[in-house]
C-alpha cells in the first residue's frame, strides 16, 4: 500500500540562516537597524562592565565638566559621569520599552483572539472598551494614569502597557475572525475542541505574523513614550539614571553645557531609529515570503 513518498525537503538550519542573512544583507537599512539594536542591547546587558564610573557617585568638584578623556560625555550638575549614566539609562528606557511592547502585544493579542473566537456580547463589550481607550489621546491617558497611581517606574510601565493594548486587540481580533473560517478550525470544532484549545493551538499561532510585525514597529515608539514619561517626571525617579529625565534636567543647563541634554537625547534618537529600522525590515521579511508561499 504505501508508496514511498518524498516530501519536499526541508531546508536545514544552516541553510535557513544563510537565507536569512542573505535577505538582511539585501537591505542596508535593516542591517543598520539590526546593528544599532544589538549595540543598544549590549549596552543594556553589559552596562556594569562598560561604564567607566559608578553612575550615582557624586563628585561635586567635577560638576558640569565638558566631555574629556576621563568623562567621555561630561558630567552632570552633581558631578556624576554622564557616559555611565547614559549606559545605565538604557536599562530604564529600553528595558521599559521592550517590556511594555511585549506585554501589550501578549495581553492584547490574547484578548483579541478570544474576542474574535467567542463573538457575541463578549466581543461587542471588548471592542467598545477598546474604542473608549482609543478615543483618549494616549499621552494624556498615560499621564493621567501615572499621576493617579503615583510616579514610579512600575506605574509608568503599567500605564503605557494599558494604553497600547487596544491596537493589538483590534489586530488580533481581525485575524481571528478570518482564521475562524479556515478548514482546520472547523475540523477542530468537529473533534469537540473547546474554545481555549482553539485559541491556543489554532487561532493564536496563525494570528501571530501581523502581531509580530506590529510589535517590532512598536518597540521604537514604546521607548519614546518611556522617555517622554521620564521627561515629565512620571517615570523612574532620581537618582536612577533615565534618558528622558536627563534630557529634562539638562534643559536648565543647555545654554552653557550643551552635553547634558545632547547625549541622552542622541541615545533616545539612535535607539528609537534603530528599532524602527529593524521593525521595517522584519515586516519586509515576513510579508513577501508569506505571499510567495
Amino acid at each position: 500500500m504505501s508508496v514511498p513518498l518524498t516530501a519536499i525537503p526541508r531546508p536545514q538550519w544552516r541553510e535557513k540562516l544563510t537565507y536569512l542573512t542573505w535577505q538582511i544583507r539585501r537591505s542596508p537599512l535593516t542591517m543598520a537597524g539590526l546593528l544599532i539594536t544589538l549595540m543598544v542591547v549590549m549596552c543594556m546587558i553589559f552596562a556594569p562592565w562598560l561604564a567607566s564610573h559608578d553612575p550615582n557617585t557624586l563628585n561635586l568638584a567635577e560638576r558640569l565638566a565638558p566631555p574629556s578623556a576621563e568623562h567621555w560625555f561630561g558630567t552632570d550638575e552633581v558631578g556624576r559621569d554622564l557616559f555611565s549614566r547614559v549606559l545605565y539609562g538604557s536599562q530604564q528606557s529600553v528595558g521599559v520599552g521592550l517590556f511594555v511592547a511585549f506585554a501589550s502585544c501578549f495581553i492584547g493579542g490574547l484578548l483579541g483572539c478570544f474576542s474574535g473566537v467567542i463573538g457575541g456580547r463578549f466581543d461587542a463589550l471588548t471592542m467598545r472598551l477598546m474604542d473608549i481607550m482609543l478615543s483618549v489621546p494616549s499621552l494624556v491617558l498615560i499621564m493621567a494614569l501615572a499621576a493617579a497611581l503615583g510616579a514610579s517606574l512600575f506605574n509608568a510601565m503599567l500605564a503605557i502597557t494599558l494604553v497600547r493594548i487596544p491596537s493589538y486587540v483590534r489586530l488580533a481580533r481581525g485575524q481571528a475572525l478570518g482564521i475562524r473560517q479556515m478548514g482546520y478550525v472547523k475540523a477542530a470544532e468537529t473533534f469537540g475542541a473547546q474554545r481555549w484549545h482553539m485559541v491556543h493551538w489554532h487561532v493564536a499561532r496563525n494570528a501571530m505574523p501581523p502581531l509580530l510585525v506590529q510589535l517590532s514597529l512598536d518597540i521604537g515608539s514604546a521607548i519614546l513614550m518611556a522617555s517622554a514619561l521620564g521627561f515629565i517626571g512620571l517615570g523612574a525617579q532620581q537618582p536612577t539614571a533615565e534618558w528622558g529625565a536627563m534630557v529634562a534636567t539638562g534643559r536648565n543647563y543647555i545654554l552653557d553645557n550643551w552635553w547634558y541634554s545632547t547625549f541622552p537625547g542622541l541615545a533616545i534618537l539612535i535607539t528609537a531609529t534603530g528599532f524602527n529600522l529593524l521593525g521595517d525590515g522584519v515586516r519586509d521579511l515576513l510579508d513577501p515570503r508569506q505571499q510567495g508561499k
Partner: protein, 323 residues
C-alpha cells in the same frame, strides 16, 4: 414500479444511523429586534438509514444541502425538526465515532503545527495528553496512509496536495472511528493523485471495516466507491437506491439531467435547448408541490402535490410519474 434488479446487492451490516424526516433551517435577515424575517430551508425532510460497513454516496449540486447534511452528521448542527439517531446511543462516550475528511487539503490542516500534532488532534481534544502515546499513534496511522514516520515533525506546507489529504485521512483515523464522512475528498486533487487516494480509502475500508458517507458532485467517483447512492435536490432526497441501479438507470428527471450533463470520455457534447433554466430555485420560499417542477420536462397533473418517495428496496424515487 418494480425496479428490475440487475446488479447484486452487497451484504451489509446492521443499521447504525437513522435520519427520520430531518429538517434544518437557518434564520436569515433578522429585523431590528433580532427576530428572523425569513428562513433558508437547507434540509427539507431527509429520511435515510446508514448501514454498517457500506459506502453511501450523496450526490448533488451546490445548494442541494449536502454540506448542511455533513455538518449535521458531525454534530455541528441540530435538526430543526425530525430525528437523528445513532445505533449506539447519542454521540458521546462509547458511541459511534464519526470523523470527517474535508475537501480542501490546503486549508484543513493548521500550517503551524507539526503533522503528528495535527493527526492526533482528535485525541488531544478528548483529553489525551501523553506525548509519547500520541506520537506512537501518529506514527502507526501515518504509516497506514503512506506517510513515512520520519516526516512526522514536518509541517503541512512541506507536503504536496495528495500527501496533505493523506494526512487529513490519518487525522480522521487516529481516534479509531466507525464512520467517516468524506466531503468531496478528491475534488481538489489532480486526477493521478485522486486515483491513489481512492485506492487508499478502499483499502482502509476493508482493513478497518469502516462505514463511509461520501459526499461528492463527481459522479464517476461515486460510481466507483458507493454501494448505495442518494441524489439530493433542494434539501430533499429525490432518488435513493443501489448505486449501480441508480447510476445506470436513473429514474428521477433531475437525476437524469444531472448524469446526462456529466462529461464522459468520447461522448460528444450535443447542443440542445440552452435556454432551459439551470438555476436552482432559492430555498427561502419552497415550492408548493414538486421542487423540480419548473425544470422538469415530464411534468403533468399531480406534480403540484408534494412528492413522496416511491419504490422498492433497491431504488426509490420522489416522483409520481417515474416512480
Amino acid at each position: 414500479m418494480n425496479s428490475a434488479l440487475i446488479y447484486p446487492v452487497k451484504q451489509s451490516g446492521p443499521e447504525i444511523l437513522k435520519l427520520a424526516d430531518v429538517r434544518v433551517r437557518f434564520p436569515v435577515s433578522n429585523d431590528w429586534l433580532g427576530r428572523p424575517r425569513g428562513y433558508a430551508h437547507a434540509l427539507n425532510g431527509i429520511d435515510l438509514q446508514v448501514r454498517a460497513g457500506e459506502t453511501l454516496g450523496i450526490v448533488g449540486e451546490s445548494g442541494c444541502g449536502k454540506s448542511t447534511l455533513a455538518q449535521l452528521l458531525m454534530g455541528l448542527l441540530k435538526p430543526s425538526s425530525g430525528e437523528l439517531s445513532w445505533a449506539n446511543g447519542s454521540k458521546g462516550e462509547g458511541s459511534s465515532n464519526v470523523q470527517i475528511v474535508f475537501q480542501d487539503p490546503q486549508s484543513s490542516l493548521n500550517p503551524r503545527l507539526p503533522i503528528w500534532r495535527i493527526i492526533t488532534e482528535p485525541l488531544y481534544a478528548r483529553g489525551m495528553r501523553s506525548r509519547e502515546q500520541m506520537r506512537s499513534i501518529a506514527a502507526k496511522v501515518a504509516a497506514q496512509v503512506g506517510i513515512r514516520p520520519e516526516y512526522l515533525d514536518r509541517f503541512a506546507h512541506q507536503f504536496s496536495g495528495g500527501q496533505r489529504q493523506r494526512i487529513a485521512i490519518a487525522r480522521a483515523l487516529s481516534s479509531d472511528p466507525d464512520i467517516i464522512v468524506l466531503d468531496e475528498p478528491t475534488s481538489a486533487l489532480d486526477i493521478s493523485v485522486q486515483a491513489q487516494i481512492l485506492n487508499l480509502l478502499a483499502e482502509l475500508q476493508q482493513a478497518r471495516n469502516l462505514t463511509y458517507i461520501l459526499i461528492s458532485h463527481n459522479v464517476s467517483v461515486v460510481r466507483h466507491m458507493a454501494d448505495r447512492v442518494a441524489v439530493m435536490y433542494l434539501g430533499q432526497i429525490v432518488e435513493l437506491g443501489n448505486a449501480a441501479q441508480v447510476l445506470d438507470q436513473p429514474r428521477h428527471p433531475y437525476t437524469r439531467l444531472l448524469f446526462e450533463a456529466v462529461p464522459r470520455l468520447g461522448v460528444p457534447l450535443l447542443a440542445e435547448q440552452v435556454a432551459a433554466p439551470t438555476e436552482l430555485p432559492g430555498n427561502r420560499k419552497l415550492p408548493e408541490g414538486c421542487f423540480f417542477l419548473e425544470r422538469c420536462s415530464a411534468s403533468r397533473e399531480g406534480c403540484k402535490q408534494p412528492q413522496v418517495m416511491r419504490g422498492g428496496e433497491h431504488q426509490r424515487v420522489r416522483c409520481h410519474v417515474m416512480g
